[in-house]
Structure formats: structure tokens, C-alpha cells
Symmetry: C2
Subunit: 261 residues, 2 copies
DNA sequence: CGAAGTGTTGAAGCAAATCAATTTTCGTGG
DNA sequence: CCACGAAAATTGATTTGCTTCAACACTTCG
């Protein structure tokens, strides 16, 4: 894993837009970081590197010495199942950690692979642990990890209990909100560099069926597709159809918890 | 929620066995707690109370002021879906936290309800946070939360991608291991106080189908049932059938992570 | 321009849902 | 302890959402 030191004074994503550091955007959501905290965090992103589409970033069983963060692109957590099927367990968008949990648990119990070309940052564990000695940063990291867990629960409920058309609609609603939160979607449309097979591996349905469900959503005028872009003409319609409630994403600034007496 | 102060010098579970504090058993797994840490933890369990079967412990939207821990019994995380279906997102066994994440995220995005009569402990957030000022305890709590996340990922892969017979077999393998880890199963059998409906709500399959799949597993001699007890004559056979690999449960003492340089 | 990957369509088969009825188990009070 | 009612488990018949297999069209890019 080569790690060209790209000291990036201004970050640009693959579409050429100048974007804020997406990790910062994400961790600031809780709204409790001081200027000094932010400086500490920014200093962590010193070592970035590029990964082509469909490469592994970390593999099952790895004991990563650094923690990897998505700066640009699109990736997924996955497990290979008996019989060669691939189960996609999460999509990762800019700002997301690949293996924060492995720093605590010691080992990856699944792999992370890119789906589109990605820019990654590698943060040495020692540097991260030092930053986490600041309570506000530790709290923000903890929040990020627990928000990932909330997404897993929503996926489990969604994939387990809903018909395929609702499942796919729900997934699109989630991706729209998450991409919007890091400036990669306007309200109406976003780039989604996924094949129908990659969607099916997340939903647990066949490629053929993904295709038919997409046609169904188009026929209902809930979505339009244009190459690898998704257009959602009326987000509320799609969200209603999917039974989507964005609370589980914890994108709003932290609702202050009741103070412990 | 009445909170009778039951200062329990020795804990007994509902079957009358004298058991260790299951929270301690769980948090000690990482193997890094000092005697002082253990004393601090033990002191947290001062306020226990009983809850009947099929009651809610916390509800979606709650902002709990205490953190609740299972001391005895059987419970589940669940969400109610559009159409009245219930999605069971996790089973909770003694030693498991109900709402540790809500202490950080501020709010429950799902409910926790008992399935069997339970003994719960309520830990005031202030007391927990004070205990967590000890690094070893903070680390153990973090490990516990992340191990829950690993179980969610395994469920998502299992429920999403496998045939129903493998799914159910996998679930039984997991419960056997988790119950064994807190002394509630010998190698061969354990009490499983769940109806077929409650199993179906976790697997996303109908009650009728749960029944047929159970019959199939019995016919294959992979399991026997006796009232609410499950007997697994040859655990390896069932685990092979289910493609079960216990690594994701993180029940073994922490594999020491590579030291950060 | 050709080849590979991706998307689309149709037909047949199957796993699981649904509906409905019956039996068994279990908890409770007489 | 037994009788009763309710909950849970079981069985059969029918329907359906999704898979699988196979062929073909479109796009992208070297």
C-alpha cells in the first residue's frame, strides 16, 4: 500500500469540485468540536492515496496498523458467503471509516473494497489515539461508530422484512441523504457508481430482479436513471413509498441527551 | 419503572443456579481488567428489578437517563414496520446492554422488549461515565458495543443471503455460543424461551415456515427440541451445516492488536 | 472496431407466503 | 387435580415473489 504524501491544502473530489474535508464534515455534526479539536483532526489527514475501482482496502482477517478513511469515491463492506455469493453489508461514502472498529477489536471480520476509484487517508493508530485523548474527539468518533451501527440495524429491518421494491427505494433514500450530507448530492440527483449486481448483493436479490424493480420504480415515476446518475424528482414521494425515516442516520446535530444528574 | 434496591450479594438466575455477575463475565473477556476495575464495575450493579415477559424495557424515541443491563432472562431489540410486522434486530442475553449506544447518541432508534421474565440492572449514566474514566473499563465497554455491531453484520449477511434452513441453524449456533459464554448452556443443550413467531420475526420468515424449517433440522438430526429446550447433539455438524464461524462473536479473550509504533 | 461488461427481456421452476383448519401445550382458576 | 380457554404448534392447499437459465441489446473503452 503505497502512501504518497499528498499534503492537500485544498481537497478536490473526482468531479473537480473543491470540497471540505469530508471526515471533518462528518465529525463536526455533533457540533461540539473546538477550533483546536478541528486543527488536531485536520492534521490527521496527511497521508492520502488513490485506489482503483474494485480493489480491496482491507481484507477479512487483517490486523490493520492504520485506520483508513474514505476521502472520495465509493466503497463497501462485504463478506464472501459459502457458494461464492457476496454479501454487501454497508456502502461507504466520503467521510466514512473503513476499519475504526478493528483498532479496538484487533481484527477485521469482513473486507472493505472499492466500488469506484477512491481517495483514501491512512491514519496511524498512534496518531488517532492521541487525537482521541481529547474528549470531544473521542466522543465524535464514538458517535460515528454508533451511527454506523444504527444503519446496520435499519438495513437488517429493511432487507429482512420488506418487499424488494421498498428495499431498493429505502436504500436510495438513505444514499441520497448521506451523499447530501457530504455535499455529493443536491436535493434532486446524485451520482451512484454501482452496477445492478452490486445493488443486488446489498439487498440479497438477483441482478435480474434488481433490474425489474428499478423498472417498477421508474414506471411509478419515483426515480429516473441517467447513466450512473439517479434522479429523484420528489424525494418525499420516494421516502413515503419506502417508509423512510432519516432519524437513524443521525445527520442532524446531536440532540443533547438529558444531562445525567 | 420501580427500582427496588436489591443488594444482591450472590446472584441467582431464574433456574436457581448461582451465577457470576454476567456483565462482569462479559467485560472481563478482553482480559485487561484489574481487581480495582472489577470492583468499580461490580459496584455499578446495585439497583436491579424484575420485568415480566413481553414488556418493553425502552421504547423507540426514549432518551433513557440510565443504562440498562440484562442480568437474567431473554429480550430483543425490535422495530415495528409499516404493516404491523415486527423486525427483531438482536436477541439480548444476560450480560448484554440494552441502551449503551443511546447514552452517546441521545435517543433510542428502536425498542427493547423482554421475551421471557427478566432481571434488569439500571446504571445511572453519571455512574457509568465515572467508571468509564478508567481506560480499561472504557475499552471494555467499547469492545462490547463493537462486538454487538459485528453480530449485526453477521445477521445481515446470514438473513440476507442464505436459505431459511441455514439461517435458523446459524442463529441457533450463535445462541448456543453466547449462552455458553455466560454459563447458560452446556455444550449440548440450552433453554430457548422463544415462540416460533419470535424466531420468524428475527429471520424475516413466516411462523408456518419456521415450523417447517425446524422439522427439517430435526429430520436431519441436527437438533432436537424438548419444550422450550434445544438439544444440539453434535455442535460441529450444525455449525458446518450453517457455515458458522464464531469469530464474529469475539468471545475469545482479546487477540492483542498489533502495537501502534 | 471488437470485446467485455452491463443492462434488458422472456420462460420455467421453486422457496416461501398466505389462508385456513386442527391438534397440542400451557396457564389459570374452579 | 382437573377443566377450561387461550396460545402455540402443526398440517394441507394454494398463490406469489423471486430465482435461474438463456438469449440478446446496449454501452464503454482499449
Amino acid at each position: 500500500m503505497d502512501c504518497r504524501m499528498l499534503l492537500s491544502p485544498a481537497l478536490h473530489n473526482r468531479q473537480g469540485y473543491r470540497v471540505r474535508n469530508p471526515l471533518m464534515t462528518k465529525l463536526e455534526r455533533a457540533g461540539t468540536l473546538s477550533a483546536e479539536d478541528r486543527a488536531k483532526l485536520a492534521a490527521l489527514i496527511s497521508c492520502t492515496y488513490e485506489v482503483a475501482a474494485r480493489e480491496d482496502i482491507v481484507r477479512e482477517g487483517d490486523r490493520p496498523r492504520e485506520v483508513h478513511v474514505m476521502m472520495d469515491g465509493f466503497a463497501c463492506r462485504y463478506k464472501m458467503m459459502a457458494g461464492g455469493r457476496r454479501a454487501i453489508l454497508a456502502y461507504l461514502v466520503p467521510g466514512d471509516f473503513c476499519d475504526l472498529h478493528a483498532a479496538v477489536l484487533g481484527r477485521m471480520d469482513h473486507a472493505v473494497g472499492t466500488l469506484a476509484p477512491c481517495t483514501m487517508a491512512a491514519i496511524p493508530r498512534a496518531a488517532l489515539e492521541e487525537a482521541a485523548s481529547r474528549p470531544a474527539i473521542a466522543r465524535a468518533l464514538c458517535r460515528a461508530a454508533l451511527a454506523d451501527e444504527a444503519i446496520l440495524r435499519e438495513w437488517l429491518a429493511n432487507m429482512g422484512q420488506q418487499a424488494a421494491d421498498r428495499q431498493l427505494a429505502h436504500l436510495l433514500c438513505e444514499l441520497r441523504r448521506r451523499l447530501q450530507a457530504v455535499g455529493l448530492a443536491d436535493g434532486r440527483s446524485f451520482r451512484l457508481p454501482l452496477t445492478q449486481e452490486e445493488l443486488g448483493d446489498a439487498l440479497g436479490i438477483s441482478t435480474v430482479h434488481v433490474n425489474r424493480v428499478l423498472q417498477c420504480l421508474r414506471a411509478l415515476r419515483l426515480i429516473e436513471t441517467n447513466g450512473r446518475s439517479i434522479i429523484i424528482p420528489h424525494a418525499e414521494l420516494l421516502e413515503t413509498f419506502a417508509g423512510f425515516d432519516p432519524g437513524y442516520l443521525y445527520l442532524a446535530p446531536a440532540e443533547s441527551a438529558p444531562a445525567p444528574q
